[in-house]
Symmetry: none
Subunit: 428 residues, 2 copies
């Protein structure tokens, strides 16, 4: 099935917002086996929107519109769609009730623009929004011999994603005419793209015509995506199984899971299984490790808290890092990382402490510790450990990479079976 | 002058790469006064590219193509353009020399695919690449009475940007038919889109034909963008000035700045100017406030650290929240928020403490405190304050919204001039 994306918003055209919705939808639809053929962005302009709607049905069986569903005067998608499909807008009382409720629960009156959100073009299904007030819209029809599916979603990424996952994806998966291209994703951690590619060279040589292997690096690690191009067959599945086994053999403990699993989840499951609690002592990461660990619902089972010790005074006063240690070795050093990890264990009364102290940049670099340097500390009841890593020049990236490296250090130390040496790694 | 962007690449369609080129070009072209009317992405597919080229000249005076200019077999832009414009490819010897040189300087032999980069469609100008090997291409023609400009740039962002800045922008700026459009963006905080729209209704009524006002909501607040369509004139500037003044009058202290400024920066500047230090006591936000404050380079001037007190035990042991208080009122309560803010002031020895305790979800909601509820605490040497807010159902969004609300509470308390009551707010 072919899909077109129509993303709407002046802010996209003038570059005030980067079109992450197109990338997100492209990825999800491809994974379901749809071929995204074209993505178009136009402004909040009824004529342009109509032009693009006119074009899409010629080739696409699915058109996804995003944006312009909000309550304000420049949100015109609802009206344009109603007009285009000759489907007059009608107020859906159940939705109007829900919207009124939505505001009441927050102790507010529904604003005068609220009822606009309850208007639905005749013949369109509404798709519940698990996150916000604006509902999504869905329409199925047949044009000649062809199916035509239209999904209309809000432009706010979290709302768009929520409605897609809860309502659009299940509708697509249930169809016979959406046929699988099979994907399998292996999540790796603690190894960069180039090193991984070296290790997997023999696997790459075995892929053949029908399977692709893609490297998807990010600050959370490198995802490996295997794609069997002609889909659902048992033979394709067997081949993916064989390749997965080979990759696991060669990438060792760097493969932390499959699918959508994250490093935070893997570590969380490990901690829960071992009935172990964790806390972080953060300088360079500024709270990001805590933020990432608490991104997982249920993390209170194993995560107690963090001390963000950005100022040296806090490292001393709260975490008990020695004044002499700071003076002699500097804040970005092995003994400080170890004392921070040990200190947070004591202060928070947790089993495992993990620590970061580094130079995220752009300023603060020295000859010995250039921007991108970080010392990671680990402490549990039996041992402490510190590791030095060097990443990139960019502050935002470094904070993410430092946090990932600290989480990965904890994962490996907690799960340690071998004494295999760590590889210095980067996302590329 | 109207512009269309045609960005080429399978990786954009399947979401492996986010289309940052479209945002970058959109921003630059808008700033020059061109109206970007449409952005289209298609794969590395000659037929689709031709389709889109066929469409663009009907309305756009400038077409910018990016991507598919590299040396590999799936880079087909050069061939498609040559064919479409009936401009046979010819090898440009000077460019071939430069490419050979480019590789030699890097101690490498020109790869067999190198000469492909020196092929230029007849009648096209070449645009030097200050960063990489592939040159850009430029073509001017007249179709009927209309000018038609075509710029073809590589897809690698640094190369695209380099060629645009050094060769495309000067060519556009030199033209009489490129005239400015003016943008002005006001950043707001602590007020939702709907409430803002209510307040700004009289402003919206004054816009007239030549100015647009757009609302751009996010978890960090709502940006307001004014656009004067016919550009550069002093009259347009005056009108934007008048509208900005009106908006500031009506939105009051919710307007925190203009342009690209963020809430974290505004708060940081405030703290630096007042020589005030801050620390956060975080339960529901899990470290996100610290992470956001330390996203700003130089934040060590005013940010000392945080205590992430996710477990109640940490609230008691580290922040000194009373056991009886927790028992009597529960963790998500006014007195706990206040004691956390006051506690972190003491523990970290900072001037201002800000605290969050809430239910991010999806589990943990109660009748009294449904998912999305947060108590925000503020404490300085003179007073404490707590505010209850209610946001959404989604964990990720809630964490961001809680953190934004806490940062905004600190901003307003520190900058407090009036006793104007806060408005309960949401991104919509």
């Amino acid at each position: 099935m072919k899909a077109h994306l129509l993303t709407i918003g002046d802010e996209l055209l003038i570059g005030q917002t980067t079109n992450t919705n197109a990338a997100w939808l492209g990825e999800r639809l491809s994974r379901l086996g749809l071929e995204v053929e074209r993505t178009v962005t136009v402004g909040d302009d009824p004529d342009r929107m109509r032009d693009e709607l006119d074009r899409s049905p010629q080739r696409a069986e699915l058109v996804v519109l995003t944006g312009g569903l909000g309550p304000t005067h420049d949100d015109v998608t609802r009206e344009v769609v109603a007009d285009y499909f000759d489907a007059p807008l009608q107020t859906d009382d159940a939705i109007l009730d829900r919207i009124r409720h939505y505001y009441e629960r927050r102790g507010r009156q529904m604003p005068p623009s609220g009822p606009k959100l309850a208007q639905v073009p005749q013949g369109f299904e509404t798709l519940e929004n698990p996150v916000g007030a604006a509902v999504g819209l869905w329409h199925e029809s047949t044009v000649g011999e062809r199916t035509r599916l239209v999904a209309i979603l809000p432009g706010i990424p979290e709302e768009m994603e929520g409605i897609f996952e809860s309502s659009v994806r299940p509708r697509l998966e249930a169809r016979d005419d959406v046929r699988g291209m099979q994907h399998r994703t292996l999540i790796t951690s603690g190894i960069g793209e180039s090193s991984l590619q070296e290790r997997l060279r023999p696997v790459a040589e075995e892929l053949g015509e029908k399977v692709r292997l893609a490297y998807l690096p990010s600050t959370n690690g490198v995802r490996l995506r295997l794609t069997a191009l002609d889909g659902d067959s048992a033979a394709a599945r067997d081949q993916l199984d064989r390749l997965e086994t080979k990759i696991r053999e060669r990438a060792g403990e760097h493969v932390i899971g499959t699918g959508d699993v994250t490093l935070e989840e893997v570590l969380g499951n490990q901690l829960r299984a071992a009935e172990t609690t964790i806390g972080s002592a953060e300088s360079a990461t500024g709270g990001l490790i805590g933020h990432r660990l608490t991104g997982i619902s249920g993390s209170s089972d194993y995560y107690a808290g963090s001390v963000v010790a950005y100022a040296n005074r806090v490292k001393q006063d709260v975490l008990g890092v020695g004044t002499e240690t700071l003076d002699e070795f500097g804040a970005v050093s092995e003994p400080v990382a170890v004392q921070m990890a040990e200190g947070v264990r004591q202060v928070l009364g947790v089993d495992v402490g993990v620590a970061t102290t580094g130079i995220a940049g752009p300023t603060g670099g020295t000859e010995e510790n250039p921007v991108g340097t970080v010392w990671l500390g680990y402490a549990d009841a039996h041992r402490t450990r510190a590791v030095k890593r060097h990443f990139v020049e960019d502050r935002t990236l470094n904070k993410q990479l430092f946090a990932t490296a600290a989480l990965d250090l904890a994962r490996r130390e907690i799960g340690r079976k071998s004494e295999e040496e760590d590889e210095d790694w980067m996302p590329r």
